[in-house]
């Protein structure tokens, strides 16, 4: 197979005279190449290209005092249920016959499509999105640095007037729905969101809506 000529005068394969056994200086590389390609194929097929991506999320700490109700200001509440159902209401929750005398909260139904959830979030979060867009324009015109842009955008998302979103899911909702929703919140520049537990009154409303 691999024959290496030891004396220096090689070459001239065809026209070499028969009497001296002059073999070529070239090594047959075929087996090595075969092996190289075999290994190449193996590594190409077994290597995992992408490291998994991840989404960072912080859950709210448990309130020390259960009875203390969180004041919600400019909040949108999403409730997910069976069969990709998605309900929402805006503002605080008022049960039937509440002491404040407000009309009881009604659940609106929407879906995960662009026309549903995406549009809804854009509408509710308009001031923030516009402010961020303005910043982005400035950034693209190179008036501000990218770190400044990021900082200001986060500041804009964290403003008091910015939309807060509460994410709630009942027993039948799937994990995919929750991730989809949070993902959409990230896309729509909503900085303040939390995944929280449902209130019993809300659950009964959702059940009623599901059975409709």
């Amino acid at each position: 197979m691999a024959e290496v000529n030891t004396d220096s005068g090689g070459g001239g394969g065809k026209h070499a005279k028969k009497r001296a056994k002059k073999s070529s200086t070239k090594i047959d590389m075929t087996p090595m190449v075969d092996l190289a390609f075999l290994l190449l194929t193996f590594f190409v097929l077994t290597s995992t290209f992408s490291k998994p991506k991840m989404m960072e999320i912080s859950y709210p700490a448990k309130p020390k005092d259960k009875s203390e109700n969180m004041k919600v200001n400019n909040a949108l509440t999403f409730i997910m249920s069976d069969d990709n159902a998605l309900y929402y209401y805006y503002g605080e929750f008022y049960p039937e016959a509440n002491p404040a005398g407000k009309p009881p909260t009604k659940l609106e139904r929407t879906d995960f499509s662009d026309e549903g959830l995406h549009k809804l979030l854009l509408d509710y979060n308009k001031p923030t999105i516009e402010a961020i867009k303005k910043l982005k324009d400035q950034y693209e015109r190179a008036e501000i640095a990218d770190t400044t842009f990021k900082r200001l955008a986060i500041k804009e998302q964290g403003k008091k007037e910015a939309l807060t979103v509460l994410v709630k899911a009942d027993d039948k909702a799937t994990y995919k729905n929750v991730i989809d929703l949070i993902d959409e919140l990230n896309i729509c520049n909503i900085g303040k969101y939390a995944v929280v537990d449902m209130m019993p009154q809300e659950l009964s409303l959702v059940n009623a809506a599901n059975n409709k």
Binding site: K53, M55, T174, Y175, I179, N186
Partner: protein, 220 residues
């Protein structure tokens, strides 16, 4: 008529550049390859637009479609330490051989009572075992112990390494242990919530939810 003499060319062609390239690629793939590990469970993660990469130092809880929980720590030193602590807690002795085997394993999804047996199995057999998942209900919350001991062990080892680095006068970059949750898209959210509840009970509120990257352009 004069015959046109065709130059006699050598039919064999020079393969050297090709071989060079092939070896270059082999070397590249060998060095970059992180071989796919055999997970005991297939988890089909939902997609998101997030493009952050998973940090190195991570404790991973996988949750499959049926809500079974699997536990993994990717630092093998911490794994061994955690197994030690778990063994002490559940009064199970692990030999050095078993610890070594355990450090090379991936996610585990068997309760403590079956763990010794599971570790001693052949790799092929392990793949066939149907893992029942780590129990995490209020009566028998082994997952909680796994998480707790893993966290303690990671912190202990980080402190030790820091002391060692200081002794030698080297820089030490502390990378905190992160908590990742990898759940199947079809899992009921309630199953994920139970796991998150275990974490929040221990005052851990920050999670990395593992998702696959959504293809297509981002919506504007």
């Amino acid at each position: 008529m004069a015959k046109i003499k065709m130059p006699k060319s050598n039919p064999s062609l020079d393969m050297t550049p090709m071989v060079d390239l092939a070896f270059l690629l082999v070397t590249f793939f060998m060095l970059t390859a992180t071989s796919r590990v055999n997970e005991p469970v297939v988890v089909d993660t939902p997609s998101s637009v997030s493009d952050k990469l998973l940090p190195e130092n991570v404790m991973l809880i996988s949750i499959d479609e049926k809500g079974r929980a699997f536990y993994n720590i990717n630092n093998s030193e911490v794994r061994i330490g955690t197994l030690d602590r778990m063994g002490a807690q559940y009064k199970i002795q692990f030999t050095d051989e078993e610890k070594k085997r355990f450090s090379g394993m991936t996610s585990i999804g068997v309760p403590m009572s079956q763990l010794k047996e599971y570790i001693n199995m052949d790799n092929d057999k392990q793949a066939l075992v149907k893992s029942p998942g780590i129990p995490h209900d209020s009566l028998d919350n082994q997952l909680k112990d796994w998480i707790m001991f893993g966290r303690i062990e990671a912190a202990t080892q980080a402190t030790q390494e820091k002391a060692k680095a200081e002794e030698l006068g080297r820089d030490f970059k502390y990378e905190p242990l992160r908590f990742a949750i990898k759940a199947d898209g079809k899992t009921n959210y309630i199953a994920v919530k139970d796991i998150i509840q275990i974490f929040t009970d221990m005052d851990i509120y920050r999670f990395n939810l593992i998702t696959s990257l959504e293809d297509g352009s981002t919506k504007e």
